[in-house]
């Protein structure tokens, strides 16, 4: 079936390349069709439904739903939480990746496991940990209460829960990258007279920038979209401690479908932007690390 055929082409013959595997065209296309059907059914249709539902009552209603004070507050809160949690995890992620990739120390594998912990723990449990610690009956809750510090059902609790859930994203992205790159370039910089800070800014950071950006994008997406952990610690106070995902749920439970989908469409839009950014970063990273070898006179 798939033998090499020579096509006569103006006295010049081009051999058709033989396919390595003998699968027929039918198999190939049915597999592609199955994958596409699956994607359409479970991804594209729901995504389209979100936008359709959001715009069902017209564009003005859509804008009105987003401009409603509680909705605006939830959008504000979501961005505020991400603005604190993402930079915090950026610093932690770089520090942890640096420690794990560059140094040998006791408890290294334990640290590696701890970094992964939020991935393996249900977000609800992550939230409950904070309730157990800071709640009225918690370990240090009464002490905090007597000093007038409010963590649970307030911004600090939401930020803490979000940070916990998003800890692995930056560190996980950087550790393999930094291990692969090794520390020779940094040693070279130091021997050439660079200070620690100069070495970090001029050598380490440029080498990890695409991995770092990738981690930050994923971290941000999760920070804005987190539901479980935040739901436990937020207390669902309208206009105060509701993030966008929580606000969507409340509106939906109150049968305000159009408003609910309007806010949800913002989150969906955020996901699409994240995807686009992620693809761009991946493309740039690939583009920069694979340059052709120079041809030139050898001396």
């Amino acid at each position: 079936m798939s033998a090499s055929i020579a096509l006569p082409l103006g006295g010049y013959s081009i051999p058709v390349r033989r396919r390595a595997s003998g699968e027929s065209v039918l198999v190939k296309w049915s597999l592609i069709a199955a994958a596409l059907a699956f994607l359409t059914l479970f991804l594209f249709v729901p995504l389209a439904a979100v936008f359709c539902e959001a715009l069902r009552k017209g564009f003005d209603a859509y804008i009105a739903a987003l401009a409603e004070p509680d909705a605006l507050a939830s959008i504000q809160l979501t961005f505020l939480v991400a603005a604190v949690a993402v930079p915090a995890n950026l610093v932690f992620g770089v520090a942890a990746a640096w420690a794990i990739a560059r140094f040998e120390f006791r408890g290294k594998s334990l640290l590696l496991t701890l970094v992964d912990l939020p991935f393996s723990v249900s977000p609800i449990i992550s939230g409950l940990i904070y309730v157990l610690m800071f709640g009225a009956q918690g370990w240090i809750g009464p002490w905090l209460q007597s000093h007038g510090l409010k963590i649970l059902f307030a911004l600090p609790g939401i930020v803490l829960a979000t940070m916990f859930v998003t800890v692995p994203f930056v560190a996980r992205e950087l550790i393999p990258l930094m291990q692969e790159q090794g520390s020779e370039e940094e040693e070279a910089a130091i021997v050439l007279g660079a200070s620690g800070w100069q070495t970090f800014c001029r050598v380490t950071l440029p080498n990890i920038k695409w991995g770092l950006l990738y981690g930050v994008i994923l971290c941000n997406a999760r920070a804005m979209g987190e539901f479980g952990a935040v739901s436990v610690v937020s207390g669902h106070i309208r206009g105060q401690t509701n993030t966008m995902p929580l606000h969507v749920e409340i509106l939906y439970n109150e049968y305000q479908f159009a408003a609910s989908f309007a806010v949800a469409s913002l989150l969906a839009l955020l996901a699409l932007v994240t995807l686009a950014l992620k693809s761009y970063v991946e493309w740039r990273a690939r583009h920069e690390t694979s340059e052709p070898i120079a041809e030139g006179p050898q001396q």
Binding site: E187, V191, L192, G193, Q198, A294, G296, Q298, Q299
Partner: protein, 354 residues
């Protein structure tokens, strides 16, 4: 600038990398640290550079104690085996790096940096590569750029860690001649680490042989090759034949051969080993009354000016390697399978420690 290493020791866990090493590196010399992998040569180099800290002992630069000085303050040039060029910078920026990170008051102006970098690139005839990235260069080009980058900050000392280890044989040969010429031009005190004995003997003014964290011998290429101080040095610098026997009253005996070994005048029937290089062995047909070890010629390989013979001893079936001139081999008309008489022309006797 001279470098002195005083009683330096270093352990990694239970592994002793350096065991009380003391060495002098005089100003302007090119010295090779030679030894098998794991002998501590790279560790010593990294301790001199300040990239590793010694457990005990000190490093002196120009007579001044530099043990506590940080790597960035030591003013050494370091060349890594895998180049360690900054992958996101052009060749020009790589070389300019050391100048750009200087404190503001010492930092040269943009024009001065440009002149310096270009003149260094011209020195190694690679100025046409200034705008390339490291990934666009060949291995040999990368290593030369790495060396130029180290030279840009005008180091007092140049340290090279297996500089040609990652290159193929032909480029390696070219580059080591190039390094020797460069050193003759700039005369900066240089130490380079290698496990390739040919490279060390060809390039260095002096060779330091190391084994298991200790210094075995120091000397010029000729000294260490012609007069190895220890059995290890003998074995490491080229192939060698071992003849086991006994030393007694200044005479070492094996088979029917007796060798004068005056350095062991006090030895009493001590186990000893005579070391002989293949080209220091005489081979001939046995004649009545002649002394020697009889051995059967198993294989003969004639390549170019010399013939390499593999002989099997008749007494203990041990293998003896001999190298004789091709002309002699032809005039003797030796045949494989023939029994011959083997005699060492020159030997060095060591008492068997075991």
């Amino acid at each position: 600038m001279s470098i002195e290493v005083r009683n330096v020791s270093k352990r990694f866990g239970h592994f002793t990398a350096l065991d009380n090493v003391s060495l002098d590196f005089p100003t302007g010399e090119l010295v090779a640290l030679l030894g098998p992998s794991g002998c501590g040569k790279t560790t010593l180099l990294r301790i001199i550079a300040g990239l590793e800290t010694a457990e005990s002992g000190s490093v002196l630069f120009h007579g001044e104690d530099a043990t506590e000085r940080e790597a960035r303050e030591r003013r050494v040039g370091f060349v890594f085996q895998h180049y360690a060029l900054f992958r996101h910078m052009t060749v020009f920026e790589n070389i300019a790096f050391g100048l750009r990170v200087k404190p503001r008051r010492e930092r040269p102006g943009e024009e001065a940096i440009r002149d310096k970098v270009m003149s260094l690139l011209q020195l190694v005839q690679l100025d046409w590569l200034a705008d390339r990235y490291p990934s666009q260069l060949s291995g040999g080009q990368r290593q030369r750029i790495a060396l130029v980058r180290a030279l840009a900050v005008e180091p007092k000392v140049l340290l090279l860690d297996e500089p040609f280890g990652a290159l193929d044989a032909k480029v390696r040969k070219e580059l080591r001649r190039w390094l020797r010429r460069l050193h003759d031009e700039i005369h900066v005190t240089s130490i380079f680490v290698t496990h390739d004995q040919e490279e060390a003997l060809e390039v260095a003014d002096r060779v330091v042989l190391m084994n298991r964290g200790r210094v075995e011998q120091i000397g010029t290429s000729e000294e260490v090759y012609e007069h190895p101080a220890t059995p290890f040095v003998y074995g490491f610098l080229g192939s060698v034949n071992l003849f086991h026997g006994r030393a007694h009253d200044g005479v070492m005996r094996f088979g029917n051969i007796a060798l004068q070994a005056p350095e062991y005048n006090n030895a009493e029937n001590a186990p000893a080993v005579a070391y002989t290089r293949p080209h220091e062995i005489e081979v001939g047909r046995s004649a009545p009354g002649e002394l020697g070890i009889s051995a059967r010629l198993k294989r003969a390989l004639v390549v170019g000016p010399s013939a390499r013979l593999e002989l099997e001893r008749e007494d203990d079936a041990g293998i003896i390697e001999a190298e004789i001139p091709s002309d002699l081999y032809r005039s003797l008309a030796l045949r494989e399978g023939e029994t011959l008489l083997v005699r060492p022309r020159k030997t060095k006797v060591f008492l068997d420690a075991a």
